[in-house]
Symmetry: C2
Subunit: 281 residues, 2 copies
């Protein structure tokens, strides 16, 4: 059975879907979003075909593990692929860093925005949340795109609602590129409860954040992922170029920084190599 | 002397430069910025040639007045024009709304960012500040532009410094377009002192804000306003198109909303008509 380690038969969703290290409300939130996407897109999504040692990887010390989950869509779908991942890294302090994310990417045959959620938790009473439909066109040059996807959908009310909670404050990504990439209605917040108030964070995720994320994925599925916008040749070339730069920079800034730091260069090369293939960069 | 009201000889800078309704630190800040720009650009700036009833206007009730100050640059300058304005409107409560702004616009012969400061004060103990070098290219599509003008200049440290003050909180423009227009290092903040602490606002403007604004205008003057970047034909067409949309939307959202509301449609038509000419939109 020596071949089993190189090509074992395993359920591709198993490891990613477990979310074994995060709290129940975060797990429920992430699984709910994946389930909405999979239900809506149905058979247009192909099974995850990543190598098993990319779907699940650990560092040599055994104090960090990660998963990647990718389902590409069939050629006729406006969806390119969906990408889920989580990372857990035990900290010397006894705590742990947990990052969970789900992003969806559309093909250049449509110009609609992508979807992104990322939850970064390094203490039990605080987390950073990124929730957005990142635009795929320059909103300054294309005000009607801003109107269609951000004004008419009233996406900003979610951000306003969440920022009313005393535990929620605006968060600035240290990367200027990420700040440029997100939409004007992006939710980028730090949620911080008082020391010891662990259940308060759970409450906010369950009662305040999850309804917003669920509503936003429904907007994305109904407005962005379903309809082909009949993009012309020039616009398709523009979208291809902009998507390529976006994906290259996203890998470089996000996973391309975290994975080498937490897992070492060898594992990083393997995982990031496969991801660059998925991203086609 | 009946002709004097239609074409009087007056110092074009007089009214705008007076800033009669704002506190001394705001006046000093604005005059200091105008002075830096005028000194640096020197004789490449033409005198303000706006009609006198646009340079200074009042509403029929006499409870609101405003000024506009524009100096265009000579054809060989990379600068298109600089635009200053202030508005004062007495409120029924006994207070007043004061808006003071200075913006600078470059020609499509260079791709460098513009400069913008706007101070909006509706109570003696609070104000909203916008201070930025708004980009003239899509930062997502042109990451090297982001690097040159925003990362290498370390503009973000100003925002970080200011936001450390307990009186300073991030501010979201109600306009999604304005949010899309500004750079990732834009300072968009509300400064709010406790009731009665009027001198605290003055202190923050003098000690914290003015040094930042002065440093930023120096960056703009040395990095953006001085060098022609030798832009090619395709890029120039791109800049022309993007600048046109930016200017049209800026008038529509900012002055195009405030002036009719505060001064009535007749005065608004006169002032905005002249401004559309300056903006070439």
């Amino acid at each position: 059975l020596s071949s089993s380690s190189s090509s074992p038969r395993m359920d591709p969703q198993t490891k990613f879907m477990e979310f074994p290290h995060v709290s129940a409300p975060i797990r429920d939130l992430m699984l709910g979003l994946v389930s909405s996407v999979e239900t809506h897109l149905g058979s247009s999504l192909l099974p995850c075909s990543l190598p098993p040692d990319v779907q699940y990887y650990q560092n040599p010390n055994g104090n960090a593990e990660g998963t990647v989950f990718v389902r590409s869509a069939i050629p006729s779908s406006p969806v390119d692929f969906i990408l889920g991942s989580w990372i857990n890294c035990k900290l010397p302090s006894g705590g742990a860093l947990n990052i969970a994310s789900l992003s969806t990417y559309l093909k250049p045959s449509t110009n609609a925005p992508n979807f992104l959620i990322e939850v970064i938790q390094s203490t039990p009473t605080s987390l950073v949340l990124i929730l957005d439909m990142p635009p795929r066109k320059d909103l300054v040059l294309y005000p009607e795109y801003l109107k269609t996807f951000y004004e008419d959908t009233e996406l900003d009310r979610h951000r306003q609602l969440l920022e009313k909670l005393p535990e929620v404050t605006p968060y600035s990504s240290p990367s200027l590129y990420i700040r440029a990439l997100i939409s004007p209605t992006a939710i980028l917040v730090r949620i911080e409860a008082e020391a010891g108030e662990i259940t308060r964070i759970d409450e906010i995720i369950r009662d305040n954040l999850s309804p917003i994320a669920n509503e936003m994925i429904e907007v994305w599925l109904s407005l962005c992922a379903s309809v082909d916008k009949e993009v012309g040749e020039a616009e398709m070339a523009y979208l291809e170029k902009r998507d390529l730069i976006t994906k290259t920079k996203t890998i470089e800034i996000d996973l391309g920084t975290n994975i080498p730091r937490l897992f070492g260069q060898e594992i990083a090369d393997r995982v990031l190599g496969v991801l660059r293939g998925v991203f086609n960069v």
